[in-house]
């Protein structure tokens, strides 16, 4: 009888542990945080330093209609002074106009 009870208890405990483990796995999460329910609960490495920005450091885009000057891409003015003749990407064709943001407003 005692052996039977122990076996039942052990089985029940093992099942409960497995269920708990399954629950934790379902919760998921990256970065070791408590992100049960949603999987973006992590932070980036600490510290952004935005020094060095200023006039000439353009992050935006030109207005629509910007003249590309017929170049497939402009590789002049590189920081290292060495214009790489073959970029890793495939540059847009010279005939392609520079894209900009949509001109249509919502509901128009």
């Amino acid at each position: 009888m005692k052996i039977l009870m122990n076996r039942r208890s052990r089985r029940a405990l093992i099942l409960a542990w497995l269920a708990a483990l399954a629950g934790c796995v379902a919760g998921g999460g990256y970065g070791g945080g408590a992100s049960v329910g949603y999987d973006v609960g992590f932070y980036e490495p600490y510290g952004y330093d935005y020094g060095g920005w200023g006039p000439g450091y353009g992050v935006g885009l030109p207005r629509r209609g910007y003249d590309r000057g017929g170049r497939p891409d402009d590789r002049a003015g590189r920081a290292d002074g060495h214009a790489a003749p073959h970029p890793a990407y495939r540059p847009a064709s010279a005939s392609r106009p520079m894209p900009s943001l949509p001109s249509r407003s919502r509901g128009r």
């Binding site: 269920a19 980036e44 952004y48 935005y50 885009l61 030109p62 629509r64 894209p99 949509p102 407003s105």
Partner: protein, 308 residues
């Protein structure tokens, strides 16, 4: 004696079982029932692969973030609380513009709150395959959220974190963002050339390089004849603290006025407004928890065709 032991053992076993089953049930229920609202209502058939369609803020103080962004941009919020997750959908004039997610920072932990950028894809599994094949890294595996769609989080080969989203309700239409909405995104990276190849291979972008006055590379990524994002060389100096990342910009009518409000609301100005190539001002600020984002002045006329 034996009877007393058996009694104690029985109680302990029952307590253990109860506790374990409670943990399991709570975790399973929380994971299964986290419902995020659709991006587009009513649902549309529009799909703009490569477009930045969403942004989620990961912050240690959801209440403070809501106060800050609500006062700064006039956003209102719909709270979603499920199990251990506190999430809030930010709305502008009733339209969803982003999500705010509470995530506790452990005591003494120095991590960076940030806005996570979501790029539209037609199929998350295909995107995952392509991202990994081109040197990206999986951070959060694909997962389906009822109503929103399937999403996954990755880092590009330089380490910049981004997400992809296959929206269940279609993508937001391609219109000019209103003031207070996200209008532009930039990847600040050590090697824009290699990163441009990565994003082009994964998302099929056209790639345009802009001449830079400062000697750095500025690359514009586009799809469907619409500019989607730029790739920029991280500014020189202080490189130890500079890791590649995505930075999203909110459209504002006056960057100067907005940075004054940012400061009064407990945020910080990281880059004072300066004139960008389209003629409007650009600035970079951080919310009270330190999450950076950009401000971009853009007029309706800036989008009109002025081809020479």
């Amino acid at each position: 004696m034996n009877g007393r032991h058996r009694g104690k053992d029985g109680v302990l076993v029952r307590l253990s079982l109860g506790a374990l089953l409670s943990v399991a049930l709570v975790a399973v229920a929380a994971a299964a029932s986290f419902v995020l609202p659709p991006l587009v209502q009513p649902a549309s058939s529009e799909r703009h692969a490569g477009k930045v369609i969403w942004a989620d803020l990961v912050t240690p103080d959801l209440a403070a973030a809501k106060r800050f962004y609500g006062a700064l941009f006039g956003w209102s919020f719909n709270d979603i609380h499920t199990g251990a997750s506190d999430y809030s959908v930010a709305l502008l004039d009733g339209r969803p513009v982003g999500g705010l997610y509470q995530h506790t920072l452990r005591s003494g932990e120095q991590r960076q709150p940030a806005w996570l950028t979501f790029i539209s894809v037609r199929d998350v599994a295909d995107a995952e395959h392509s991202i990994l094949a081109h040197g990206g890294k999986l951070l959060a595996p694909p997962r389906l959220y009822a109503e929103r769609g399937r999403q996954a989080v990755f880092a590009d080969p330089q380490g910049a974190v981004f997400a992809v989203l296959q929206s269940s309700s279609g993508d937001p239409e391609d219109v000019l963002a209103a003031p207070g909405e996200w209008i532009w995104s930039s990847v600040l990276t050590r090697d824009p050339d290699q990163d441009a190849a990565f994003y082009q291979n994964v998302f099929g972008y056209e790639v345009f390089e802009m001449p830079g006055e400062d000697g750095a590379m500025h690359i514009v990524l586009s799809s469907e004849d619409v500019a989607r994002a730029s790739l920029n060389t991280l500014p020189a100096g202080g490189a130890a603290k500079r890791h590649p990342h995505w930075l999203n910009f909110v459209r504002v009518t006056s960057a100067t006025d907005t940075i004054t409000r940012v400061a009064s609301l407990g945020g910080r100005v990281l880059v004072q407004p300066f004139r960008d190539r389209h003629g409007g001002l650009v600035a970079v600020v951080a919310d009270p928890a330190g999450a950076p984002f950009g401000l971009l002045e853009w007029t309706d006329a800036d989008s009109k065709d002025t081809a020479k």
